[in-house]
Amino acid sequence: MAGLELLSDQGYRLDGRKATELRKVQARMGVFAQADGSAYLEQGNTKALAVVYGPHEMRGSRSRTLHDRAVINCQYSMATFSTAERKRRPHGDRKSTEMSLHLKQTFEAAVMTQLYPRSQIDIYVKILQSDGGNYSVCVNAATLAVIDAGIPMRDYVCACTVGFVDETPLADLCYAEESGGVSSLALALLPRGGQIALLQMDARLHQDHLETLIDAAMTACKGVSKVLDEVVRQHLQEVSVLTRE
């Protein structure tokens, strides 16, 4: 990968974006009639589908019921056709379990679980096409699905993956940039309060650059939250028009 220039001299990246530009976000809510809430989100070439069931009674192990809160159960999986090479184990491998744990942690912080004691909320996310920023796209899709299901949340949860190349933070990494050995930071943010629900970083980065990187991630997340807000309002308009008629 030595020949690929992640940031050219004129400031353009591999796909022609500028350093702080996000990929094009397209989303649809309410794609499935069966589930309580569902959403489909595309961010550039990364496509994710999120489905929410709940809140309902605890299934499976009754012993895990919490008396004052709802349990959030997340499952993250990738379709076998989502990556360049066919993925042999969509569930159960360590990376998927780790992602599921992170999603669970993010939504436990954001969803108002105190309103549904002794119940369970299921969030299932599937990546249909993976082109970088898997975690962020999952979080954004799941946010829309939870809103579609009508479960109250403290704020939109927006996530973005940013990388650091040549002293410049790059917002919303694609797969080529992620695998090029760039230090990447995935951040899940509740935009109104500026609270970080999850922070995850790999690869070496000097401590002084951490602040710039977190700032860039927060601005990118706020951009994403505006788009998500637009999508939700549009969906509500469509739905209310249909129900009125």
Binding site: E98, A109, I196, D202
Partner: protein, 372 residues
């Protein structure tokens, strides 16, 4: 599981203090034990020649594995792949593999055919909080300590020399990433470094920052359902850089000592270090505890407790068959008081007896002296 939150911790540490870290090495190269307070962790590094991955033909393979067995703590069950085990495994992998602390290209023997696969196994021996930090220290120390066999490549033939024929070579390590864990309580208002097991049970969330001594952050991971603010993360990273430099020094010193001990030909290893532990096992590590306010607090507590209820002069025994609901409690108090009085009486008697004995002894002694 409710702990009252003081500004001081259970074992007398300050909020930013680490527990005492002790590093010992085993007889083989690459075997290392780390004690973080009472948390005990063992790491073993081994290597073998395998075929490389297809998409990376000239790089060696690193494999990390953390074992949580019930011997470390009753919380861990026999069946593997619990959430915690996956989390720790992934964190260690990300901390050590993605930061590229080891030069994997130097592990290549014949490109596309034979490379070294380095396997790091970390076993938890005792769980007293903060497994991640202990595991990362153990893993990186074991990697620094490990020596792989020397090899010679002649054309297509690869000869592996045993340790007797040629000295084994150390791995080339660029930097030492060490993880520091911070635990948050009460929605981020309180922050503690290096939580012990009890603190871990009641904490809201955990932030793990892995850094090396060049102040480069290798990995950041927040877990638990807490919300952080940017300033908290930055503050934690500054604290972490200080701690990491201390720990790195400790590791280098331990490695130096071990090298000297091996050169001197002294027997080294776990079996040697264990008897020493038994001798000093009775010695409690001294921890500086702030006792300045204790007397005042004790005084306050005594004043605040109510006076015990007035003792009943004579124990009221209700007539048999009469149930007195109101005075039931008083009655038991009365009985207790009576018991206490009786006990006091017994004590006094005992004291008097002792005094009498003493008097007798002294009289005896006097008599003795008088005789003399």
């Amino acid at each position: 599981l409710s702990l009252c939150l003081l500004f001081r911790r259970l074992d007398g540490r300050q909020t930013y203090d680490y527990r005492k870290i002790k590093i010992t090495f085993g007889t083989d190269y690459g075997c290392c034990y780390v004690d973080l307070g009472k948390t005990r962790v063992m790491a073993q590094v081994s290597c073998e020649l395998v075929a490389p991955k297809e998409n990376r033909p000239n790089e060696g393979i690193m494999f990390f594995n953390i074992e949580l067995s019930p011997l470390a703590s009753p919380i861990f069950e026999q069946g593997r792949q619990s959430e915690l085990s996956v989390k720790l495994n992934r964190q260690l992998e990300r901390c050590l593999r993605n930061s590229k602390c080891i030069d994997t290209e130097s592990l290549c023997v014949v490109s596309g055919e034979k490379v070294w696969q380095i396997r790091v196994d970390v076993h938890m021996l005792n769980h007293d909080g903060n497994l991640m930090d202990a595991a990362s220290i153990a893993a990186i120390t074991a990697l620094c300590h490990f020596r792989r066999p020397d090899i010679a490549v002649q054309g297509e033939e690869v000869t592996v020399y045993s340790p007797e024929e040629r000295d084994p070579i150390a791995l080339s390590i660029y930097h030492m990433p060490i993880s520091v864990s911070f635990s948050f309580f009460q929605q981020g208002t309180y922050l503690l470094v290096d939580p012990c097991e009890r603190e871990e049970r009641v904490m809201d969330g955990l932030l793990m920052i892995a850094m090396n001594k060049h102040r480069e952050i290798c990995s950041v991971q927040s877990s638990g359902g807490i919300m952080l603010l940017k300033e908290q993360v930055l503050r934690c990273s500054k604290i972490a850089s200080v701690k990491v430099s201390e720990i790195t020094e400790l590791i280098s010193k331990a490695l130096e000592n071990d090298k000297k001990a091996r050169k001197a030909g002294g027997r080294c290893g776990f079996a040697e270090s264990l008897p020493q532990e038994r001798i000093t096992a009775l010695k409690m590590d001294e921890m500086p505890v702030e006792v300045t306010d204790v007397t005042e607090q004790a005084y306050d507590i005594i004043q605040k407790t109510k006076e015990p209820p007035q003792t009943v002069p004579s124990p009221l025994v209700p007539a048999p068959g009469v149930g007195q609901v109101d005075q039931g409690q008083q009655n038991t108090w009365g009985l207790e008081e009576e018991e206490e009085e009786r006990e006091d009486g017994v004590e006094e008697e005992a004291v008097m007896e002792v005094e009498q004995q003493k008097e007798e002894e002294s009289k005896g002694a006097q008599r003795y002296f008088n005789i003399i």
